[in-house]
Structure formats: structure tokens, C-alpha cells
């Protein structure tokens, strides 16, 4: 009996043993015992957000910028339902999160008690796994398993729902190393995993005449060493490489092999190369519909190698020739040693012809935009932000929409884990709390949320959080008074009927910042832009920089829905053919 502690104490002890340094949360009736225990200790820091949705995005930003697991603590009912968007976001983008929710005491479960909801029921499809802990003695083993599951294999969110009576009850704590997790509950790649497939893949690459590497977020999730190995292997092959939105930074933007991002708003040369390649090496990407465009015209003449840790991604939308299930780091390490052992060398003549072709595509200069006049073009704003921050350790987060694509196109990432954006779910309101999380994880780094005027309002309440914890996050708003991407689609696909995509009555963002005791800056013309950016960087405080950009700029190049990689639209003047435009309209 002497060794017994309360459930709430077990929660904190488990977090401490898991090496958790910070918890993002919001208190409420059903988690009061845990908050009480939190109050009595000093090892774990708590960041109080202003809405639970902010807590989980902050945890995501923390997790993705540090490589650690993000931890969230919220109450029952509305606390739990408010994190559902973030859980889904973390599920789609494979972010390791442990989310603790309070629950009404067990004797009230099912009685429609105050702030009761079926949390495990609601979150079942948007978590990797979830638990309702009914026995205080199982609490520590559940926590240790939850952390392992969140990080293991393809990472993702795990939720632990704890009734209030379990938090008060006394039980015994079990240490991490005493917990045995049955192997079927985890993904354990064996050391000789897929040896034959790896050899087959490497041989295929060695015989390629027009290879391309297609790199995704899985490389980032596999840790910084994975990015290093991927770069090394690509250099050995001498092949061009393109990255998905989630994979930016795996290969540096300035790397001679990099063609930049591919997909709907990707680079012309990257998409053309994907279309015409003869061997495609997909590492840690999942053939997302934003990447593939029309499936029946997707890279028609290539042999496809697909490395993924999640077997369900194999042949899900695109049939591949050589699937390899495993962790990027381990698989690519093996590929490199096979390449060296067999003394493979790619045919340099064909490779040169391939690069010549790619360089021709590069001449199209697909990111070209008209930068005349005093008005700030959004692309120019991102370019200047990059130029003025490139020598600082900078983390960029984004919201979702046009600004997100311009950030991906014009900000050059040289390292992994520096780029945090909501890719799969496309969550407006992600960027600002994610920036808060990244700043908590990297107090001395520059963290900039490139935002749109509509997205930023979705979690603007977190200004209060940023200021309270003296987090010098910078919000860089490309303000065009529109939901820009909605407006763009309405222009291109709905006859220019801008239904509800204009935001009237936007706040004065400078005054808004000031009202939170933060700093507000504004640039209305190109002359003012550099000064505002410099001032923003130098301010040791939370800043909102309100950048007034041209209102009707569109994000190009673009593969419209229903089109293929080789049917990119480079500007507004170039119209999609009617038939595929009609077909595309019904897609997302």
C-alpha cells in the first residue's frame, strides 16, 4: 500500500519518465486532479492556450520541429471535441501526439452528465489508437504503450481518456522498462527486412535512363539521419529529386539535384520529370491526389519503387512495381550499401540527356510573376522574407491556402524539420499555434507563421498565449482580404462568382497586435516591405506584420483538378480544355 500514488500523480510520473518537458493544455472540471498535481511539481512545464484547438496544433508544431512527441491535456466534453480537428490533422500528417482528456467519473458515464461526451467513440477514426482507462493500476502501462504507439512505425496521435475518479484513485506505478508491449500492437521491421526487394530496387535504379526521386514526409519522420542518407544516395545516383509539400527540406533547395516541390502547385520541371521518367523512386510519400493529378495519366511509362513504413499505402492509389515496407533510414542505408557493394553506376550519357531535357523545362521559369508597380506581390513578400531570414535559424509555419503554396514555392528550405504546414487535412488556423509550439521547442530560433488574413482569424485568440509566455513568434500576414484559394477556384472554375470568399470587416491587425501588448507592423508598398521585415525580425516580442498584397493574384503554376502532370497551367491566360475542366470541377 505504501507505494500507491494517485492516478493524477501516475499521469505526471509517466510523462516525466517519458521525458516530456512541456504540455499544451487547458484546464476544466474533469482534469482538475491532474492540474492540481501539475501545480505541485516543477519538472513539466505547462503552456496554457486559449482554446483547445490551439493546444493540439501547438503540440504538433512542437513535435514536428523537435522530433519529440507532443503532449496535450484537456478536459472532457467540449475540451475533447475541440481537439478533434488537430487529432485528424496529426493523423493525416503522421505527427506523434499523446492527448490526455478528462472524462466524467465512471458512475456517470452514459448518463449525459455535464461535459460528458463519448470521447473514445468520437476520436476512434482520427487517432492511431485510443484508451478509456478504467483501472488506475493500468494507467502507467497505458501511458507507456501510448507513447510507444505514437512514435512507432508511422507516427500518429494517441488519446488517453481518464475518468475523474481514476485520477483520484490510488494505484501502483509501473516503470517504462517493466512494460512489455505485444509485438502485434507495434510495427517492428526485421533487420533483414525486404532484402531481396531492396536489391531489386537498387538494380532497377542502376539501369535507369530517366530516374527521379519523389521524396515525402516519411523521410522527415524517420529523423534527420534519414534526410542525410537520402541526400547521399541521390548524389551517388546523380538523379533529379522532387519533394512533396511535407518533404520540403529533406534535400536542400540549393542542392544541384533538387527540382523543388511537385504536385498541384509544384514546379513545372518537377511535374514534367515525373511524367516522363522511366524509374520513379518514391521514398516516404503516399501518392496523394494533390501530387498525382489524374491517375490514368500519372507517370505512364515508369517502373515505380515505393518505400513506405505503412503497408496500406502500397498500391492504394497507384500500383507500384517494387514495394518496400520499412523505415526510410534503414532502407536507404541498405540501398546505399548495395549500390556500393555491386559497384553500380548509372549510364552517364542517358543521365546527361535526361538533365538536358529537365534544364529545358526549367527555362519555362514557371514561378515567374509580374512584379511591376508599387503594390506588393505576395510572391515578392515571401521572397524578401526568405532573403532577410536565410542566414538565421528559421522555422516557417503556414496556415492553409494561397499563402501556403507561395511559401512552399518561394521560401527555400535547406534542412528538414524547419517547415511546418498542414498538408493532408489542410487545416486553416494550424500555423499560428504550430509556431507557438515550435517556439517553445526552440526558444532562440526565429519562428515565422506565413499566414493569410482569413486563416489567421481561425486561431487568433492564441495571441494571448504567445504574449503570456513571451514567445517572439512572428505572424506574417499576406493580406488580400480574400480567402485567396477559394477565390482563385471560383475565378477558374465557377465563372468568377466570388461567393462568400471576400472578408468584410477585417480587424486592423496592427491595433489587434497592440491590444494584446504585442507589436503590430504594416507594409502597404514595396518600399516599406524590407523595413517591416527587418523590424519584425529584430523585435524581441510577438509581432503581427500585416502585408498588404495585390488582391487578385493567383497561385501558379497549377495542375487543375482532373488534369495530368504534363497539363500544367502556367498563367490565367492558359485555359484548361473544357472537358477536363468540367470533370475537374466536381473533384476537390
Amino acid at each position: 500500500m505504501n507505494n500507491e500514488i494517485t492516478g493524477a500523480e501516475i499521469v505526471l510520473k509517466s510523462l516525466a519518465e517519458q521525458g516530456v518537458e512541456v504540455v499544451f493544455g487547458y484546464p476544466g472540471g474533469a482534469v482538475l486532479p491532474i492540474y492540481d498535481t501539475l501545480f505541485k511539481q516543477n519538472s513539466i512545464k505547462h503552456v496554457l492556450v486559449r482554446q483547445e484547438g490551439g493546444a493540439i496544433h501547438a503540440a504538433e508544431g512542437y513535435a514536428r520541429s523537435t522530433g519529440k512527441t507532443g503532449v496535450v491535456l484537456v478536459t472532457s466534453g467540449p475540451g475533447a471535441t475541440n481537439v478533434v480537428t488537430g487529432l485528424t490533422d496529426a493523423m493525416m500528417d503522421s505527427v506523434p501526439i499523446v492527448c490526455i482528456t478528462g472524462q466524467v467519473p465512471q458512475h456517470l458515464i452514459g448518463s449525459d452528465a455535464f461535459q460528458e461526451c463519448d470521447t473514445t467513440g468520437i476520436t476512434r477514426p482520427c487517432t492511431k489508437h485510443n484508451y478509456l482507462v478504467k483501472d488506475v493500476n493500468k494507467l502507467s502501462s497505458v501511458f507507456h504503450e501510448a507513447f510507444t504507439i505514437a512514435q512507432n512505425g508511422r507516427p500518429g496521435p494517441v488519446l488517453i481518456d481518464i475518468p475523474k475518479d481514476v485520477q483520484f484513485a490510488s494505484g501502483t506505478y509501473e516503470e517504462k522498462n517493466k512494460i512489455i508491449i505485444p509485438s502485434h500492437r507495434l510495427f517492428e521491421p526485421s533487420p533483414d527486412f525486404e532484402k531481396n526487394k531492396i536489391e531489386e530496387a537498387v538494380e532497377l535504379i542502376s539501369k535507369a535512363k530517366k530516374p527521379i526521386f519523389y521524396i515525402g514526409g516519411g523521410c522527415i519522420n524517420s529523423g534527420p539521419k534519414a534526410s542525410k542518407l537520402v541526400r547521399e544516395f541521390i548524389n551517388m545516383v546523380g538523379s533529379p529529386v522532387t519533394m512533396t509539400l511535407m518533404g520540403l527540406g529533406v534535400v536542400g533547395s540549393s542542392d544541384k539535384n533538387s527540382l523543388g516541390m511537385l504536385g498541384m502547385h509544384g514546379m513545372y520541371e518537377a511535374n514534367m520529370a515525373m511524367h516522363e521518367c522511366d524509374v520513379m523512386i518514391n521514398i516516404g510519400a503516399r501518392f496523394d491526389d494533390r501530387v498525382t493529378g489524374r491517375l490514368d495519366a500519372f507517370s505512364p511509362n515508369s517502373k515505380k519503387i515505393h518505400i513506405d513504413i505503412d503497408e496500406s499505402n502500397i498500391n492504394k492509389t497507384i500500383n507500384v512495381d517494387v514495394p518496400i515496407i520499412g523505415d526510410v533510414k534503414q532502407v536507404v542505408e541498405k540501398m546505399i550499401s548495395v549500390w556500393k557493394d555491386k559497384k553500380y553506376k548509372i549510364d552517364t550519357d542517358s543521365l546527361k540527356l535526361w538533365w538536358d531535357k529537365i534544364n529545358k523545362w526549367k527555362e519555362v521559369d514557371c514561378l515567374n510573376y509580374n512584379n511591376e508597380g508599387k503594390q506588393i506581390k505576395p510572391q515578392y513578400a515571401v521572397q524578401r522574407l526568405y532573403e532577410l531570414t536565410k542566414n538565421t535559424k528559421t522555422f516557417i509555419t503556414t496556415e492553409v491556402g494561397q499563402h501556403q503554396m507561395w511559401a512552399a514555392q518561394f521560401y527555400k528550405f535547406e534542412e528538414p524539420n524547419r517547415w511546418l504546414t498542414s498538408g493532408g487535412l489542410g487545416t486553416m488556423g494550424y500555423g499560428f499555434p504550430a509556431a507557438i509550439g515550435a517556439q517553445v521547442g526552440h526558444p532562440d530560433a526565429l519562428v515565422v507563421d506565413i499566414a493569410g488574413d482569413a486563416s489567421i482569424l481561425m486561431n487568433i485568440q492564441e495571441m494571448s498565449t504567445a504574449v503570456q509566455y513571451r514567445l517572439p513568434v512572428k505572424i506574417f500576414i499576406l493580406n488580400n482580404e480574400y480567402m485567396g484559394m477559394v477565390r482563385q477556384w471560383q475565378e477558374l472554375l465557377h465563372g468568377g462568382r466570388y461567393s462568400e470568399s471576400y472578408t468584410d470587416s477585417l480587424p486592423d491587425f496592427v491595433k489587434l497586435a497592440e491590444s494584446y501588448k504585442a507589436v503590430g507592423l504594416r507594409a502597404k508598398t514595396t518600399d516599406e516591405l524590407d523595413d517591416v521585415i527587418t523590424q519584425m525580425i529584430e523585435t524581441k516580442n510577438t509581432v503581427i506584420a500585416d502585408i498588404w498584397v495585390t488582391k487578385e493574384e493567383n497561385c501558379f503554376p497549377m495542375i487543375q483538378s482532373g488534369s495530368a502532370h504534363n497539363e500544367m497551367m502556367l498563367s490565367k491566360d492558359q485555359k484548361q480544355d473544357k472537358k477536363s475542366a468540367e470533370k475537374g470541377k466536381i473533384l476537390v
Partner: protein, 180 residues
Amino acid sequence: MNKSVYDSPDQVSEIKRHILTVLVDNEPGVLARVIGMFSGRGYNIDSLNVAEVSNDENISRITIVTHGTSEVVNQIEKQLLRIVPVHSVTNLDQEGSSVEAEVALVYIYISDSNKKKVYQLCDLYRARKIENENNTTIFEIAGASERVNRFIKEINEITKVEIVRSGPVAISSIQKNEEE
């Protein structure tokens, strides 16, 4: 090919019935996880059966009958394996590799005019009358779904019936070593 916002380029294989047998940890919510995966991703469940099969290890076996192309069923299997408490997923669709059976209970409305025919048919299908306190004619028939289907079709032609069916359960018939 499976699902995407885009049309699938080549629908290659035909839609077939598949029996999946899924071993799971017997813990709260596990059935909801399995069913939720089907409904959430737009797959079909024709029938589903679940019961604990090992007391000591706390393992249940779920038998699911579904239909789809081999690509779709392949994806279903992989999605099931992603569920944490799932031990294994086996597709028993290979011919001759498994046996299946289900049980149907049939309440038969009986009269003097059809009594003989009913009993003859039940005899033929080896349907067994279940004694009950109210002395109503309730028959039990077990076997492959095909056989149960035929029985129900024929009894329906004779008289009115009420039916409850368990849906099939199936097990691999491939020889195994005891150690496994």
C-alpha cells in the same frame, strides 16, 4: 487500384465475395474499430461474426464476409492490420482452403395441409426441430451459406417463415503443425 478523388484508370479484377478472419485482442472498442474502418472508408460488410476463442489469451475471432475486387479487399486487409489490437488478418477466399458454416433458426408457420411437406423438406436438409416450451415449430439448420439459402428458398415456397441467420464463420482447412 482503389480509391482516389480521381477515377481509377483500370478496374482490372472482378468483384468477388471474400471471407476475412481477423484475430483481435478482446478489449473494449475493438469491434467498433473494425466496423468503423469499413464504414469510414466506404467498404461493405455482408455479414459479421465475433466471439472470444481463447479464454487465457483474451483473443477474439471476427469473421467478416465482404465483397470487392481483389485490390479493394487487399486494401481492406492492410487497413485492418493498422488497427492496434489486430493480431492477424487472413483471407479465406482461396478455394478448398477453408470450410465455412452458419446457423439459421427458422420459425415455420405450420398447418395440417403443409405439415407433411415441411417435415419432408426439413428431413432432406437435416434441419433439426428445436423443442421449446410453447411447442412451436422452430427448426435449426447449419452448414454452408449456399445450403441454408436453398433451404430457405424452398421452405418459403411452402409456407410463411421467420428467419434469423448467424452469418457464416469460417476456418482455414490447411494442415498445420501443432507447434505453430
